[in-house]
């Protein structure tokens, strides 16, 4: 990775972190659990990397197997995370 690319990625990291702080600071405590499981699902974004890692060489390749294991784990994280968050939020009702 070139130094220029690294700096750009660093910019992205810092700005996104700041945005994250700003976004979450105002969330009412009532929503903290769904927020956490919802953001937990987002952290499953590593699924993108897992798909790319699966796309390599044949079945004798260690990296392919690592990629496939990662893909299953990340998919559980993503699908389970979104599904359970939806299940919780469905219950939040005002009478």
């Amino acid at each position: 990775m070139s130094a220029e690319t690294f700096i750009i990625l660093l910019y992205i990291l810092i700005l996104a972190s700041y945005l994250g702080f700003e976004l979450i600071n105002k969330v009412p405590p009532t929503l903290h659990t769904p927020l956490m499981s919802g953001s937990n699902a987002i952290s499953g974004i590593t699924i993108v990397g897992a798909i790319i890692a699966c796309n390599e060489l044949g079945y004798l390749s260690v990296s392919k197997w690592l990629g496939m294991a990662a893909l299953i784990l990340a998919t559980i994280n993503v699908v389970g995370g979104y599904a359970v968050t939806d299940r919780m939020l469905k219950m939040f009702k005002k009478k």
């Binding site: 979450i24 009532t30 993108v48 890692a53 699966c54 990296s63 939040f92």
Partner: protein, 463 residues
């Protein structure tokens, strides 16, 4: 082609941001979760279309397996078990990030024989370290919460020294790895060190500190994804990882503040062990409590015009939330003003109590945060405490020698009458006596919360 993929990632990132923003308001929260899942779908689709046709089958099989497992867990899990489930998913996310980084590293150094530059190498090491700690740390949190290992803090001498040595070793290994990337053993050793560290870091932390630990591990899983983004030079991983990392840190801070503890104090662990000894000496006179029977309690409920219910984790353990809804509806029908006071660390993760009460079909506008309701206790007729202990202990305000001194608590003792539903005189998590139980206006309603409240509801109906 590449530009389309990059643009899709950009759209996905925007949808994540908008989704999180919408998750912050009760009205839009559900839609926000959907917006964010659409973002995820776009990111996945944009990645899948670029793979070779020959790998497509493998990828789809893995996705189908993962989706099935994820959906089953999400449908089956009980709301009391949400903290365990979030911990487990966190762990999976962390391990996935570790595996992706290691896979990419292996592909380049071992299978293609390409040299890896220092920035990428350090990113791989960070992914492995954070991902590994997240994985085993989350597993331990999961086991503590589900009760398969003791929830007590496990402490031994030299614990922190060992952790420190392991961390220094990890950094040392990374430096060695930088000198010779063709040798994958360094990264594998680093992975093992990270897994061991994850276990050691979480075992000294007691069960009731789990809200903090889960928030922090949530943050770690984001940081691991972020580090993997640096390995793969992938923007969407960095943006989403950073968002999650930041949100986890914020929630961690909120939890620590609610317990009047510093993050360091929680992480060093052992809380409840030392304090139990200290509290024992400070006790002095035994607290004498006044018991109340179900019939008498029913008469008190019948005579009041304002009621605040204070739920704690004990309510969830007894599965008493549905019968509490019955009780609150019954009282409302009699014209009583019923509200719920929610302490920020009630339950086993931030906001857990709200989810449990929402599941029991209790309107969310009845759930009042501590800061908003604390002044109202003084002009309330009756407070009903169910399965909460340390969060209603006045010693936190009055007794400087108490281990929980300084922790913000609910001012329940200011109410006219307090009834506490409790299984026995067992101590709270902090292992200390609760002065509230000995107060003149406090009555103890002993027994399993679900059974006693069911009887109570029956009695009130007959009045």
């Amino acid at each position: 082609m590449n530009i389309i993929i990059q643009l899709s990632y950009l759209i996905a990132s925007i949808l994540f941001i908008v989704g999180i923003k919408m998750l912050g308001r009760t009205k839009t929260a559900r839609k926000g979760n959907m917006v964010s899942s659409v973002g995820m779908f776009i990111a996945i689709l944009a990645t899948v279309i670029q793979v070779e046709a020959i790998s497509l089958v493998d990828i789809l099989i893995c996705i189908v397996i993962g989706s099935a497992i994820g959906l089953i867990i999400a449908q089956k899990v009980q709301m009391t078990k949400i903290p365990e489930m979030v911990a487990l998913f966190n762990g999976f996310g962390g391990l996935a990030s570790l595996a992706v980084a290691l896979s990419d590293f292996w592909l380049n150094t071992q299978e293609r024989g390409v040299a890896v530059d220092n920035i990428t190498g350090i990113s791989v090491a960070l992914s492995i370290l954070i991902g590994g700690i997240t994985f085993t740390g989350s597993l331990i949190a999961f086991m503590k919460l589900s009760g398969s290992i003791s929830g007590r803090a496990i402490v031994f001498t030299g614990q922190h020294l060992i952790n420190l040595i392991l961390l220094i070793l990890s950094i040392g290994i990374t430096v060695f790895a930088l000198t010779d990337f063709s040798n994958p053993n360094y990264m594998i050793i680093l992975g093992v060190l990270a897994l061991v560290l994850g276990v050691l870091v979480v075992i000294p932390i007691g069960g009731a500190d789990m809200p903090v630990v889960i928030s922090l591990l949530n943050s770690y899983s984001g940081m691991a994804a972020c580090a993997t983004g640096f390995v793969l030079n992938n923007n969407v991983l960095i943006v989403s990882g950073a968002l999650v990392g930041a949100s986890g840190i914020i929630l961690t801070q909120i939890m620590c503040k609610a317990m009047n503890r510093s993050l360091m104090n929680v992480l060093l662990g052992g809380f409840g062990q030392t304090s139990a000894a200290g509290g024992g000496q400070a006790d002095g006179p035994q607290i004498t409590v006044k018991e109340v029977g179900v019939e008498e309690a029913a008469q008190i409920f019948d005579s009041v015009s304002s009621l605040i219910i204070v739920p704690g984790y004990g309510m969830a353990v007894a599965h008493a939330q549905h019968v509490i809804r019955e009780l609150s509806e019954l009282c409302e029908k009699k014209g009583v003003n019923v509200r719920f006071a929610i302490h920020p660390v009630a339950g086993r993760m931030p906001g857990h109590m709200n989810v449990l009460l929402a599941e029991a079909n209790i309107s969310y506008d009845k759930l009042i945060e501590m800061d908003e309701i604390n002044d109202d206790f003084a002009n309330t007729d009756l407070v009903f405490v169910v399965g909460a202990n340390d969060v209603v202990n006045p010693a936190a305000k009055t007794n400087p020698s108490s281990p929980i001194f300084g922790m913000p608590v609910l001012n329940v003792e200011k109410a006219q009458t307090v009834i506490v539903s409790k299984r026995s005189m067992g101590k709270g998590y902090a292992g200390i006596e609760n002065e509230l139980f000995g107060a003149d206006n406090c009555l103890m309603l002993f027994g399993d919360a679900k059974q006693t409240i069911t009887k109570l509801v029956g009695e009130i109906k007959e009045l």
